[in-house]
Amino acid sequence: MSLSTAEALTDALREEARRLLAEGTVAVVVGWEAGRFPNQTTPAFISDPEQAQRLVYGDYCVNTLAKYALGEKAAGKVAVCVRGCDSRGINRMIADNQLLRDEVYLLGLPCSGMKDPATGSLLMKCRTCTEHDAVTYDVLLGPATAAGHDGASADSSAGDSEHVSDEQRFTAVLGIEEMAPEKRRALFDAAFNKCIRCYACRKSCPCCTCRECFVDQLRAGWQGKQNNLAENRFYNITRVFHIGDRCIECGECERACPMGLPLMALNRKMVKDLKSLFNADDAGMTEENSAALGRYDLGDLEEFM
């Protein structure tokens, strides 16, 4: 987005945050503030109206904020800055009974894709984003994003139209599907070997709302603590299977991963299959829970026999 747009949105955001806090509508505003390094931002939690001017909005607000609503709601109503991804995360948590719509006040912001502060190029997760603007909000600050992510035209891997097609969205998946099985195995074995099990992927995921993750449960034979290929594969595949039919495709897991695992390719494999097999809806577009594996149809496709 242009500098003037970013400034205008930042002003509008600060003003709205100040008003909401001053009027006591919300107890806290979750947004972004500047970090130490050039272009860097970091999640901000503002509860004093005087501090609202710390908030910023622009091209580098890389964090998807939805999940913070869960931690902050105990103090009162939480205002959360939402773009497409954040708002779908909020919807997802509502669908999973983790949040009530009433517990949050959503500040809708237009988004044209976020950039990596270090390189200035569009984040991977934003290149395949299908929903730029908030799908639900209480107030919309600034106009909807007319065309696609700005970086899109500059970057050949992203489309320049307003919609990322399924083909673009599933490029990585399709690419892997086309590989020979041994190559796929090698690819993922290498990836799972890299995994350090820091669990940043699950912690950043708005679908991961278990009180105690399966990996932390001491069930004989369930998930070993060892960091070896087999256990890492178990963790990563199970994680995908736990969230796959609810994944809102925010890409936050992949961004958070310090080791660069192709997590979105795994997530999107499920998303793609459920979509093509069972006509699954895109997750988080509404507050309804329409997880494809929680339903069935008598006429479901039969791949077994």
Binding site: N97, T209, R211, Q217, R219, A220, G221, W222, N289, R295
Partner: protein, 660 residues
């Protein structure tokens, strides 16, 4: 530390021939926590069972593994045996080394190795078994019957006659359902009203039957033996305590409305009984059409009523009561053919294209024409009638794929009735097949043909009006030609489809619906009146199209099932059911959505967590409803839901043991 006993059966030579039993015993002795292992010639025999009981005492065993035939054969036998010991009957695992080992493998070495694996798996699993207990559920001996047609009335009467109180809920102002609309019943041609109305009266006066008309079931909670049912009664605007049913109000009411009972062919008043023999035999005010209620004018009925029973300000009533069993008998409705068959005129069809049920009213002596068959358009007697069967039935493209079962017979009945009343008339019946299985049915059909009905095998492709006649274009597949028949009246024998309420009631009661929304029985052959919801039974056409004798038979069968349930004071629940770990549950509700028995609900709990009291929403399994399928355990991402007897940990232990 558990103390496991392992008992390996030879089953004569059935097992012993392919499995080296002593070697299996030896291997079993080395397994963790196994303190005793022995073999037995016939474990299921009395001496075999005695030796297990002795070993339990002697070696202080607290759980046992029996390696023998399939658990499908003797699991119950051995559980019963454990009842006589101090071991909980669920602390038993059976390794199937006969059907799935000795009988299918020839190589003694491979068979023995596999038998050892199976015993090891069972021992690993049983190490994680916990004692399980059944709970008892009290049975509330009151039945609710939904629907006051012939099925509901029959079921209510049977249960009431067996000594149990029954509430019968009917959404119309009178009992009787569809049967009382019919003129005659095939094949005996006895008058439908003559056999139906005495039943209605009997129900209405039965000391153990409470009839609620204009009423609907709004909400059902609970489970077998303990359903909490909320019934909503629409206002009748007449105080039935005071009303004597004299009929003065109805005769003087100035508002005339199309009669639902006469299928739109006759008129009724705004204060009305749907038909003369209605039960209860008291009128109801149709609030939507009453001038007093809508415009504040009129009030003639109130002025005339000798007992002052009119209540214009009557309101909806709701009551919640407890029932032990529910019979669903909500019947059927006819398919809305006009929406589907534009070629028959659709929504703008001639008034002379009528349904079979309309024909029943036309031919009925107490119907709008007093039994004279007349064309609705001009009141003339039709000299030729075309009867079209399978309108909406056996027509997957436009209607339903199934056969509605009764139409062949009532089509024949209509032809017979028409030819009887209009001897010089001509009657053509278009049919696909004639299906007349039933006592006296085929004879009746043959007689109808002898009466002069012309049966044409083929479908009708078009019906249109031309020159005051209805032209029916069709095919005679036997002659291999298209035919064109001109008729004065066309009777469409339309398909039966589920009542409007079927889907709502089905989901409320946890009864599955098939693809056409008929309520599904628990098993198509062996449990034809039960449903997947314990304590909920089906009677009549809500389960699928059927004729009156089948309906009545099913109603009595459903009543019998209720009586069997009521013969016990308590029910024993399944012991191997799901349970949720409150600490792990995050209340996402995935289990609720997936449970086919509606056994899982979300509820709030307040508990101490890390020194603070927290109120959270968590899932809760109703032991009365859970059947132990375990679908919820997989849907549960937090791993809070587990299945007793087949827990995650038990299964995992088995997997681990197998891989050694």
């Amino acid at each position: 530390m558990s103390r496991i006993g392992v008992f390996i059966c030879h089953c004569g030579s059935n097992i012993g021939a392919t499995v080296d039993v002593p070697k299996v015993v030896e291997a079993a002795r080395t397994l963790p926590h196994v303190v005793y292992a022995d073999d037995n010639k016939y474990t299921c025999s009395d001496p075999g069972q005695q030796s297990i009981r002795d070993a339990i005492e002697e070696h202080d065993l607290d759980r046992i593994v029996i390696a023998s035939c399939s658990p499908r054969m003797h699991e119950l036998t051995f559980r019963k045996m454990l009842h006589q010991t101090r071991i909980n009957p669920y602390l038993l695992e059976i390794a199937n080394i006969r059907e799935q080992c000795s009988w299918v493998h020839k190589d003694i070495e491979a068979g023995t190795a596999k038998a050892i694996d199976l015993v090891r798996m069972a021992a690993a699993k049983i190490d994680r078994d916990t004692p399980l207990y059944t709970t008892t559920i009290p049975v509330n001996k009151r039945a609710l019957v939904i629907g006051g047609g012939i099925a509901g009335m029959q079921a209510a009467l049977d249960i009431a006659d067996a000594g149990y109180p029954v509430t019968l809920v009917e959404k119309e102002p009178s009992l009787g359902g569809k049967m009382v609309m019919l003129d005659k019943t095939f094949p005996t041609m006895d008058c439908s009203a003559c056999i139906c109305t005495p039943k209605m009266a009997e129900v209405g006066t039965h000391p153990r039957i409470e009839v609620r008309t204009c009423a609907e079931v709004e909400k059902v909670a609970g489970y077998v033996g303990n359903f909490e049912v909320t019934i909503r009664e629409a206002p009748k605007h007449v105080d039935y305590e005071l009303c004597t049913g004299c009929g003065l109000c109805e005769s003087k009411c100035p508002t005339k409305i199309t009669s639902e009972f006469d299928q739109g062919l006759g008129k009724r008043k705004a204060i009305y009984k749907p038909f003369a023999q209605a039960v209860p035999s008291k009128p109801t005010i149709d609030a939507a059409h009453c001038r007093k209620i809508n415009e504040g004018k009129c009030g003639v009925c109130e002025k005339l009523c000798p007992t002052g029973a009119i209540r214009f300000d009557d309101e909806e009533k709701r009551s919640t009561e407890t029932y032990g069993a529910i019979i669903v008998a909500i019947g059927y409705q006819l398919i809305d053919w006009a929406d589907l068959y534009g070629e028959y005129g659709g929504r703008v069809a001639s008034p002379n294209v009528i349904t079979g049920l309309q024909f029943e009213r036309l031919v009925n002596a107490s119907g709008p024409t007093e039994g004279h068959i007349q064309r609705p358009s001009d009141g003339t007697e039709p000299k030729s009638v075309v009867i079209v069967k399978c309108v909406g039935s056996r027509d997957p493209h436009k209607g339903k794929a199934y056969c509605s079962r009764a139409c062949c017979m009532y089509g024949a009945k209509h032809a017979h009735q028409y030819l009887d009343k209009v001897p010089d008339g001509r009657c053509y019946v278009f049919y696909m097949d004639v299906r007349t299985p039933g006592k006296g049915y085929d004879e009746f059909y043959m007689n109808t043909q002898r009466d002069g009905a012309v049966y044409l095998r083929g479908r009708v492709s078009k019906i249109y009006e031309q020159g005051g006649k209805l032209v029916c274009l069709g095919e005679d597949t036997l002659a291999g030609a298209t035919v064109q028949v001109e008729a004065d009246l066309v009777v469409l024998e339309t398909a039966m489809v589920p009542a409007d309420d079927a889907d709502r009631l089905g989901s409320m009661l946890g009864v599955t619906r098939d693809k056409d929304l008929w309520l599904s029985e628990a098993h198509p052959k062996l449990r034809p009146v039960e449903t997947n919801s314990g304590g909920v039974y089906l009677a009549g056409t809500c389960q699928g199209p059927k004729d009156i004798p089948d309906t009545v038979a099913q109603a009595s069968a459903a009543a019998m099932k209720v009586c069997i349930l009521f013969s016990k004071d308590e029910l024993e629940s399944n012991a191997m059911i799901a349970g949720s770990d409150v600490g792990l549950c995050n209340g996402c509700g995935a289990c609720v959505a997936i449970c086919p028995y509606q056994a899982v609900t979300l509820e709030e709990v307040t508990r101490r967590e890390n020194s603070v009291m927290v109120t959270r929403t968590v899932s809760n399994v109703n032991p009365g409803l859970c059947q132990g399928c375990g679908a919820c355990t997989v849907a549960c991402k937090p791993g809070a839901m587990d299945l007793k007897g087949f827990s995650d940990e038990q299964i995992m232990r088995e997997v681990e043991a197998l891989c050694l």
